[in-house]
């Protein structure tokens, strides 16, 4: 494998180290040793493995160094490994033309292609062992047997990056152990420590022209971030720290006076990774801020990452107002989501919204996007889910070309759209998510041999699943989640009567006062169904609205004027309530006693009416019977009498219920008296009829 041809690299050998060092030093902190190793790998071509916790910019550093050494984009091959990696993907996928005779790979599309001088493998140890094994052989022999052909590995340097610790990983897994031995140089990439000064140094590096105010912000933010760290359980990675800086400084930019206030630091909670901070975040942040007077730091031009109006249709300066106005008028408890969407559009970057279903996540997102001036067909919406597969993600295979090669119809995928909404993203299988991750990072998709640029500026993903559940389970998902720098759990802070009332008010802004009263009663009823416990059952907004609509619908359908208990009970049929374990009817009735006597009264009226009808029908039976002969008449009379008894007992029940009702409002008292009269009258009539 030794070749004496030193000219493969455009940079002269003596220049390698200084150039790499210079390039890395410009953008990264604590990069000296990485520069050292990368230059070592290129000085005498050999393979390099970089490992360490995620979010330290390993791949970025490698790319920056390779570019500095004069390699062109077309000479560097980058491939993401991960759970969904399979052998054929490693070798470039099967050659469609040869498929009928034997299985050969299209090595032109793999890292074996002769034009590549350096290869970068990401997340290499996340791949299943079956795909790592053949790689090991090729790295040793530098030749791949593609069917009968020998394909030479022409890349001189293979650099692998992984989040996993090879020390934990090596023992017990020979395939991995053997593969690791193919990497001569190994280095852990991490900071010497994660204290305030480390973060401050990082901030100073990325914002060189910071104003004095900006520097003060850096100091404060570094202190806050360092205060959140806990050895072993939670460490803010540089990527998270940078995103925090971005978010915090953007909150200042959104304000008229360009000042940082204490509240701005709370927006750290939106940063990806903070959702696994299960402890009390806001208090921890507050504690690090100066307690004295009002905190207000003016920022200047140099403190923001960008100055222009942003790539979206709406200029940056209008985004906060527009988003807030659109959402706040239509949804309740949307402050957080307004903030996170504003940040996402402002920066712009991807955002993940998660939380229990039925809170209108997708609706809010669509409303916000429309307010930014995107029409329905400019917003690309794709539902993921279990059945999602790779080819659907890229727009389906191009059937016309299928005989020659596999190409996708990317025009039909999300790639050409500026704004994208992906729903139920975490339900998709990891194999479909893996390629998505790569494209989100690199912003180009290799469709066959042509590169398709990803034009998406903002990708908003919604899911009902809790991303924290995936933390250890699936690295592919975890890596994908890291591509969404902002994340938010969407749920109401409380599920109380006033919340539901507000929801109904916003949903029906023009309701009459009578309707509003019903809404209040309904809100009262469903608040009573909720569980006090934090993890218990809460009626979601969707169930609440659906139930209300169904109740109104049931009133109209039966031609009633007023809502009765039966109508409210229809909530049992709303999707989502089927898992409710407790006694719905009992709870609803007791709730109505407390805060919905009107409904109970009209219920009694309705039942009186019904009993009256029943009485008439019984009378009719008697009448009919009188014309019959003896036996038949007796039989008919018996039936009528038993029904009569039943009727009387239900009248008694009604009376009891009425007496049990206690009301204080004079208007309702009058109503109650009226109903009582009516029931009494009916009782008398029945007595008389007997």
């Amino acid at each position: 494998m030794q070749s004496n041809d030193w000219a493969w690299l455009p940079t002269p050998r003596v220049e390698i180290l200084p150039r790499a060092r210079e390039a890395l030093d410009k953008r990264f902190v604590y990069s000296e040793e990485v520069a050292e190793l990368i230059s070592a790998a290129f000085y005498e071509p050999c393979n390099l493995l970089l490992w360490g916790p995620g979010g330290h910019g390993k791949s970025d550093m490698v790319l920056a160094a390779l570019k500095a050494l004069g390699l062109k984009d077309s000479e560097i091959f980058i491939q993401s490994f991960g759970e969904g990696m399979s052998e054929d993907r490693l070798w470039g996928g099967p050659d469609m033309a040869s498929l009928d005779t034997c299985l050969r790979y299209d090595t032109e599309r793999s890292f074996l292609a002769p034009r590549y001088k350096a290869v970068v493998f990401e997340e290499i140890f996340d791949a299943p062992a079956q795909s790592l094994l053949p790689l090991k052989d090729v790295l040793t022999r530098r030749v791949f047997m593609n069917g009968p052909d020998r394909v030479q590995l022409s890349a001189k340097v293979v650099i692998a990056c992984t989040n996993k610790d090879p020390r934990e990983f090596g023992d017990g897994n020979d395939a991995v152990q053997a593969l690791m031995e193919r990497f001569l140089l190994q280095k852990e990439v991490r900071w010497p420590s994660y204290e305030q000064q480390n973060y401050a140094e990082l901030f100073a590096k990325v914002r060189p022209d910071a104003t004095p105010g900006g520097r003060k912000l850096h100091r404060l933010l570094a202190a806050v971030i360092a205060g959140l760290n806990e050895s072993k359980t939670f460490v803010m990675s540089p990527r998270m720290a940078l995103q925090s800086l971005e978010v915090v400084s953007n909150t200042a930019k959104m304000r008229e006076d360009r000042c940082i206030v204490a509240d701005a630091f709370q927006s750290i909670r939106f940063v990806q990774g903070m959702q696994s901070y299960t402890a009390d975040l806001s208090r921890k942040i507050e504690r690090r801020l100066p307690t004295d007077s009002e905190l207000s730091i003016p920022l200047g031009q140099g403190d923001f990452s960008t100055q222009d109006e942003g790539p979206l249709k709406t200029p940056r300066s209008d985004i906060p107002k527009l988003t807030a106005r659109t959402l706040k008028s239509r949804f309740i408890h949307c402050d957080e989501i307004v903030q996170v969407l504003t940040h996402a559009f402002f920066q712009p970057c991807n955002v993940l919204l998660w939380g229990p279903g039925g809170h209108g996540k997708s609706e809010m997102v669509m409303a916000a996007l429309r307010s930014l001036g995107y029409s329905e067909d400019e917003i690309f919406l794709q539902s993921f889910g279990e059945g999602m597969s790779e080819d659907r993600l890229w727009g389906g295979p191009n059937i016309a070309k299928l005989d020659v090669c596999l190409e996708y119809d990317t025009e039909r995928s999300f790639l050409p759209h500026e704004v994208v909404v992906l729903e139920e993203i975490l339900d998709a299988s990891s194999q479909a998510l893996l390629p998505l991750k790569d494209v989100l990072t690199r912003r180009t998709f290799m469709n066959g041999s042509t590169a398709v640029e990803m034009k998406s500026k903002v990708i908003i993903a919604c899911t009902n699943k809790d991303p924290r559940q995936f933390a250890k389970d699936s690295d592919a998902v975890k890596a994908l989640l890291e591509r969404f720098p902002l994340q938010l759990e969407v749920r109401w802070p409380s599920y109380e009567q006033s919340d539901y009332e507000e929801l109904f008010r916003v949903a029906n802004p023009k309701a009459s006062s009578h309707k509003r009263k019903l809404h209040r009663i309904y809100a009262h009823v469903i608040a009573n169904l909720n569980d006090d416990r934090e993890r218990g059952f809460q009626v979601s907004p969707r169930i609440a609205l659906g139930g209300l609509r169904l109740a109104g619908n049931s009133v109209g359908r039966h031609g009633r004027k007023k809502m009765i208990v039966e109508d409210i009970l229809t909530i049992r049929n709303v999707q989502g309530m089927e898992s409710y374990k407790r006694d719905v009817e009992g709870l609803i009735r007791s709730a109505l006693l407390e805060g919905g006597v009107e409904v109970l009264l009209s219920d009694i009226d309705e039942r009186t009416e019904r009993l009256h009808g029943k009485m008439l029908s019984i009378n009719k039976i008697f009448e009919n019977a009188s014309g019959l002969d003896e036996d038949a008449r007796l039989e008919m009379n018996d039936r009528a009498i038993s029904e009569m008894v039943e009727l009387m007992s239900s009248i008694d029940a009604l009376k009891n219920e009425l007496e049990y009702l206690q009301v204080s409002d004079p208007k309702l008292q009058k109503w109650q008296e009226l109903s009582e009269e009516r029931v009494d009258q009916l009782a008398k009539e029945i007595e008389a009829g007997r």
Binding site: D88, R89, P94, M96, L99, D100, E230, S231, K232, T233, F234, S276, Y277, T278, A279, D280, R283, E386, G387, S389, E390, P397, I399, L402, D403, L406, S429, S430, Q431, A432, R468, Q469, A471, K472, D473, S494, Y495, E496, Q497, S498, R516, K517, R520, H524, A527, N528, D532, R533, E534, R535, A591, L593, E594, G595, V597, Q662, V663, S664, D665, L668
Partner: protein, 494 residues
């Protein structure tokens, strides 16, 4: 603080008993949303039957978006009400002497006081729950005024208490309700005011003043709850809002409850001290959920989703390609792994724990862990130790845990010495022995102590078990270092 009956000055008797005149009712359309008779009934059922009706109206008005009346309105109303109770001659005299208006100043002060109270921080599932809580707060405020506590002190203290308890979850309230009485938790001769004022960051004088005011407000508070605390079996009918206030009244009465809540908040600030959030989905034949995944090998062909076979008809070549790349989906049943986390706590029961507020602080940590059990995220075992380690208590059922809590009175803490090294080693041993029995994983050891002895337990003896250390009102650097090395929470001087 002992709760004693408080004498009310004569001129305040009517004030306490009769109208309040301070809220405008029902101006909005919310009028009579709440059936006030039902509120009265509910108040009766939870033992607050003795409260006068006007206060109940006020409480209802405040959730019905009523607002506080202004000065002239209050004057008008007091006069009206006063005159209606007068005889003809007296009424004539009143035209000149203005008897009836003399209390209006008092009512105006009440209105100011109530508007300073943060009624917004009272949460309740329904508006009725909020109304009931409002009633209790108004009644207390009114009485506190009558016994002569300055208005701003009343509003400060009530707001403070409401803020402390406003965020309590139902399960926290459950646990707090099982705490033994204060007199059982702390011997009277062990109250350490210096330590308390250091803990709270106030001067000793402020501390005593606070304790005094709070004690007086609390006795009024619990008076208006009347029998609320007696009938435990009917707890379900107490709305959470009222139970929170009950905790608030305890908080006002027992200064050490403040320490307890503070410690439990501190404990909540550490990620390492939260149960790990991790649920695995494992493939299982008898699983209750299904998922789709890519096929891993060719023997899974029969489990392929039917749509795949349609591709075979449409384009045989593409089918073969997908098959070769194993990129078809298959269906698989999965089950959620229900392994919980195991916490094991070693709790110090030496005599010195009786000092200061150490028992309360220990309870705070224990309760924090019990909450994880109540949420079904963890299994908890604990043992007390002094010079030896006592029997082990495993918390399986939450009602057991509540009984255990009730038992923890101060005379239980009578150990002679504190052997932390023994406790650590024994804790590790006990974790080893239970971790498999209870079907739990990722064990963590928690130690609460006030001992400052040197530690000779080595890191490797812990065998990867995370150690959390809480040293109450003392310092122990050895122990702190050990815990930090395992990545656990290590706090001293709590």
């Amino acid at each position: 603080m002992s709760v004693e009956r408080i004498r009310v000055e004569r001129r305040y008797r009517n004030f306490v008993r009769f109208h309040t005149h301070v809220t405008y009712p029902e101006i909005s359309e919310r009028r009579e949303q709440i059936n006030s008779l039902e509120v009265v009934k509910k108040l009766d059922s939870i033992g607050m039957q003795h409260l006068p009706l006007p206060i109940i109206w006020d409480g209802v008005h405040l959730v019905d978006e009523g607002k506080f009346a202004g000065k002239t309105e209050i004057e008008r109303r007091t006069r009206l009400a006063g005159r209606s109770r007068m005889w003809g001659l007296k009424r004539l005299l009143d035209d000149y002497l203005q008897f009836s208006g003399r209390d209006s100043e008092l009512y105006y002060r009440l209105s100011l006081l109530l508007s300073a109270i943060d009624f917004e921080s009272i949460h309740g599932r329904t508006e009725i729950d909020r109304a009931i809580a409002n009633v209790a707060v108004i009644a207390t405020a009114k009485r506190s005024m009558a016994v002569g506590i300055p208005a701003e002190r009343i509003s400060d203290q009530i707001n403070w208490a409401l803020q402390e308890v406003g965020g309590l979850e139902a399960d926290e309230v459950d646990l707090l309700e099982c705490l033994p009485e204060e007199s059982k938790l702390k011997p009277a001769d062990q109250i350490d005011h210096t330590q308390m004022s250091v803990d709270r960051g106030v001067t000793a004088i402020q501390l005593l003043e606070n304790i005094e005011t709070r004690g007086r407000i609390a006795s009024l508070f619990s008076e208006c709850f009347g029998g609320a605390r007696k009938d435990k079996d009917e707890k379900e009918i107490h709305p959470l809002s009222v139970r929170r206030l009950n905790v608030a009244s305890r908080l006002l009465a027992e200064p050490s409850m403040e320490a307890l809540l503070r410690i439990s908040r501190v404990a909540n600030e550490y990620v390492a001290f939260q149960p790990r959030f991790e649920k695995k989905m494992l493939p299982a034949v008898d699983g209750d959920q299904t998922r789709m995944r890519m096929m891993a090998s060719y023997d899974e062909l029969p489990r392929m989703a039917p749509a795949a076979w349609a591709i075979k008809v449409a384009s045989a070549k593409y089918f073969r390609y997908r098959l070769a790349t194993k990129s078809f989906m298959i269906r698989e049943k999965i089950k959620r792994s229900d392994k919980k986390q195991l916490f094991y706590a070693m709790l110090d029961r030496s005599k010195s724990m009786q000092q200061g507020e150490r028992i309360y602080k220990l309870l705070a940590i224990l309760m924090n862990r019990l909450r994880a059990v109540m949420r079904r995220e963890a299994v908890l075992g604990y043992s007390f130790f002094d010079s030896r380690v006592h029997e082990q208590i495993m918390v399986e059922d939450i009602s057991e845990a509540q009984d255990e809590l009730r038992r923890l009175e101060y005379d239980f803490f009578i150990g002679d010495d504190t052997d932390i090294n023994l406790a650590l080693r024994e804790g590790i041993k006990r974790i080893r022995s239970v971790v498999d029995d209870v079907n739990a994983e990722r064990p963590e050891l928690i130690i609460v102590t006030d001992g400052d002895h040197g530690i000779n337990v080595k890191l490797k003896e812990l065998k990867g078990i995370m150690l959390h250390v809480f040293i109450v009102e003392a310092h122990n650097d050895d122990l702190i270092q050990l815990a930090k090395k395992t990545g656990g929470v290590a706090l001293q001087g709590l």
